[in-house]
Amino acid sequence: MTNIKIYKTIGLLLVIGIIVWFVYAINSILMPFVLSAVLAYLLSPLVNFFETKGLKRIVSALILYSIFLIVFIGSCIILIPQIFKEVSILSNNLPEYTSSIKGSIYSMQQTLEAKYPIIKQKGIFDSTIKNTEQFLNTETSRIPEYLAAVFSMLSIFVLIPFITFFFLLEGKAGIDFVFQKIPPRYTETILSLICEIDEVLGNFFRGQFIESSCVGVLSIIGLLILGVDYAVLIGIVAGMANMIPYLGPFAGAIPALIIGFIKFQNISILIKVVAMFSIVQFIDNNLIQPIILSKGVNLHPVTVIFAIMAGAQVAGVIGMFLSVPIVCIIKATFMILIHRKDLI
């Protein structure tokens, strides 16, 4: 390796290091930008569709935004009253639920202590109830903090459509600019990277979106049939959680199990809810996924789980959502740069 090559490599590593450090330093403000980039990426095929009809990109983006605005307002008119109704009923019923849970726990305590006296001797129930009460009291006192966090989230959601619009408008021009600047001899390699990453990411994101919507709708139907309260709210959560591979379906079922148990106060509802979510997952795995080919990311399950945990560690819930696509990008890049050296 010549000296110039060594200097170039050191320079490149330094630049990458500085970029990584900078991204880490500003990670707290990155979320709206990352979410906007993902949204712009998801929406770009629709803008491209209008563009291939001969419309300018800005006109295409404005048409798309108008359509989304109409759909959004329509959905709000239909869904928001239902969600607000469910949330207000939930908050009104919370004290009743708390005493009802206490009652159930107390009767369970009586039964178990009568059957197994050792539980009473060791004071297991008393200490558990005391710890739970302490935990609930602490968490309840922090509700104003949570509300403040929700408001800051809302401001992000106002910001996201604006940033997304500019990403949609300028994203393609940005890629074209980079494409023009790369040395011609690397054109085919860079084009391979752009197209293959686009293929993998496009399949992943669009597939996940369709799949999660289906899971959400099926969960709502299932919960309504079982008579579990707040079916729409829980169904939306289950649909969104389903975007996290492997762990999502479990996370989605937990609220349904809790609310179902509170309402019906028996074990059979837990079995019914688990059965319902299993059926939804069965339909998802055997009918929905094969049709939309969403999980065609060809990653080993252990890699996916590791990526999700690492994503959670680095960037919380957003990290969990984005970890798999990031691993897909890394894999596609390595496939081209290492296994297809002949392209370079």
Binding site: N48, F49, E51, T52, K53, G54, L55, K56, D176, F179, Q180, P184, R185, T187, E188, L191, S192, I194, C195, E196, E199, R340, D342, L343
Partner: protein
């Protein structure tokens, strides 16, 4: 209607592999095309390297060169605006059979295989028409080569 878009569609209309396609289909093809400006004498692709893209000359010209038996590479053909090359890369991933360089500054349109495959999957009717046109071009080139060899025998 976007002027740049109309220009692109009118240009593609005259390319043999897009012969017989409607304006709407040509509009869709503009969505999978990348444009790139090459300075004079800059390498476009090299003989022996695996090809994965079709190139269409939008502006300028391209020289095809081939080296044989260790001798210096010779120009075997020159393509002008509207010509295309590397079409076999859309069908199979095999090493390029020649080297190409533009003698002057040239703008090329590139269609990458993955995007082309995706396009065929999305719109099989138009895809079939393009494949049929590519087959016609390859058949004509094979006939030319056979004629050339039969004359040299």
């Amino acid at each position: 209607m976007d002027k740049e878009f109309t220009e692109k569609v009118n240009f593609l209309k005259n390319i043999p592999i897009f012969e017989g396609l409607s304006n709407s289909a040509l509009g869709k093809i503009t969505g999978i095309i990348y444009s790139k400006k090459y300075p004079a004498d800059e390498l476009i692709f090299e003989e022996g390297k695996v090809g994965k893209a079709l190139f269409i000359i939008y502006d300028g010209e391209v020289a095809i060169t081939k080296a044989s038996n260790g001798a210096e590479a010779k120009v075997i053909a020159t393509h002008q605006k509207g010509a295309f090359f590397g079409e076999m890369a859309l069908l199979e991933e095999l090493p390029r059979s020649a080297t190409t360089k533009p003698p002057t500054e040239t703008t090329l349109f590139l269609i990458y295989k993955v995007k082309f495959d995706w396009f065929i999957e999305k719109d099989p009717r138009v895809g079939l028409k393009i494949i049929h046109n590519i087959a016609k071009v390859l058949s004509a080139r094979l006939r030319e080569t056979s004629n050339f060899f039969s004359k040299t025998l």
